[in-house]
């Protein structure tokens, strides 16, 4: 009888252990825009994120201030904030929902919902790579965003607009809370 109680207790304990929360320890997000005259990248390390796992399902939220992206030219950065309505909608938020089991595999495919510039875009089956070292999991990948997804008028230099594609490279390290 005592052994049965012990087994039930252990099973409950393992279930409780499966649920948990994750926090974004560090991140690098890079957007890329392409102009006939040159290519530009904006980098931000200011993202914050949190994940909640319950009953085998995890929901993640990552958010980053629009104006935290730096391209090395403050004029270009201000122009990007303007065209993306970054003063009016200062945060980019990314929501990801996936089964908890997916977190342990080296390749993660998930749907990504992004709110940016007052618009919401959904990307299906985006591929990420995951590498776990100790308690930390590093996730890398690229989100195939475009300017038109968020109704952003392409910024221009010398009256020539940038291309519509604006892929965002993601490099995030998560650890359990």
């Amino acid at each position: 009888m005592n052994r049965k109680i012990l087994w039930v207790f252990l099973a409950l304990a393992s279930l409780a252990g499966a649920d948990g929360q994750w926090v974004l320890a560090s991140s690098t997000l890079v957007y890329h825009v392409s102009h006939p005259l040159h290519q530009s990248e904006g980098v931000s390390h200011a993202a914050k994120g949190k994940g909640v796992c319950q009953g085998g399902q995890c929901n993640f939220l990552i958010a980053v201030p629009v104006k935290s992206f730096e391209s090395g030219d403050t004029n270009r950065d201000l122009h990007m904030v303007q065209v993306t309505h970054g003063a009016q909608f200062p945060m980019v938020s990314v929501r990801v929902s996936l089964p908890e089991a997916a977190l342990t595999s080296a390749s993660i495919h998930c749907d990504v919902e992004i709110q940016f510039g007052g618009q919401t875009a959904k990307y299906k089956n985006v591929a990420f790579q995951a590498v776990t070292k100790g308690t930390e999991t590093r996730i890398t990948g690229s989100i195939p965003a475009t300017l038109s997804d968020f109704k952003i008028e392409p910024p221009s230099l010398l009256s020539i607009p940038v291309k519509n594609d604006m892929p965002v490279r993601v490099d995030m390290t998560w650890r359990p809370m």
Binding site: L37, N75, L78, Q88, L157
Partner: protein
């Protein structure tokens, strides 16, 4: 007596203004329930104005109800987030001058972290329509600056090209006049171009970094040069018209014009070429 009448008039106008503002603002209320119909308390409700990004948050009470008062009219996205329930989002709710009701039924599930959980400061997460309008104005003016700057290149190059017909032994009066007219057009267009950059709204707390720094530094060369060149040019023109050889300070006209044009070209290249 006149003072009392003025005071009453002022008080009435302030009261009317306050009433008008109160009438213009709307109220959003609602109730949160679960699938069994039981009320859900302690739910975070976020109303985001889709038009200007302004957000307001409230929490449901013990009766599952929430209320936003004094909401400016507009279209709002309403989000409900509660522990143990899936996040519910109403894509658009119209708030007018009257009371709008948006109820929500929450489905059990994994709760989604909210922006409030991430620890961003209100300064970082709150949008400002005024700041956006300022940025929009700045961008419009700088776009005009760029376009006019490109257009100004044409008379600038033409003026330089026609400089041969305006100086030296083979110069003619018509050649000098054409050169002077084109130079005047260039200077006028240049000053117009510059004014769009000078008077564009400044964004406080933004340091100048990158190629734009070189672009701005070069303006300290081509700016004074673009003022000095026509002055020296008119002196040189007057000397030529009197049949004199260009002499004195006027003889620097060509050199100043050359340096000015070179700095202008470099300023354009500084924003085109990545380095």
């Amino acid at each position: 007596m006149l003072r009392i009448a003025a005071f009453i008039g002022l008080a009435v106008s302030v009261a009317c203004s306050l009433v008008a503002q109160t009438q213009a603002a709307g109220t959003l209320t609602g109730k949160l329930t679960d699938p069994s119909g039981a009320v859900v308390a302690n739910t975070t409700v976020t109303a985001t104005n889709i038009d200007n990004g302004q957000t307001r948050t409230a929490t449901t009470g013990a009766d599952g109800g929430y209320q936003f008062t004094m909401l400016p009219p507009g279209n709002y996205r309403v989000r409900f987030e509660a522990a143990g329930f899936k996040t519910l989002e109403i894509a658009s709710a119209t708030i007018g001058a009257t009371q709008a009701v948006v109820d929500g039924k929450l489905e059990p599930g994994v709760s989604t972290p909210s922006l409030g959980d991430l620890g961003f400061t209100p300064d970082q997460s709150q949008g400002s329509a005024q700041d956006q309008a300022r940025l929009d104005k700045r961008s419009r003016m700088l776009k005009t600056h760029q376009r006019l700057g490109l257009i100004t290149t044409a008379p600038l190059v033409a003026t330089l090209f026609l400089a041969n017909g305006a100086s030296g032994h083979k110069s003619t009066a018509s050649g000098r006049d054409l050169h002077a007219i084109l130079g005047g057009v260039t200077a006028g267009m240049y000053l117009t171009t510059a004014s769009f950059a000078i008077f564009a709204p400044k964004i406080a707390g933004t340091p100048t970094r990158g190629p734009i720094r070189v672009h701005k530094a070069l303006a300290w060369i081509h700016g004074p040069g673009m003022i000095l060149t026509p002055i020296l040019g008119s002196l040189a023109l007057a000397q030529k018209d009197r049949g004199e050889k260009v002499h004195g300070i006027a003889s620097a006209h060509g050199a100043v014009a050359g340096v000015t044009a070179a700095a202008y070209g470099a300023a354009m290249l500084s924003v085109i070429i990545k380095f």
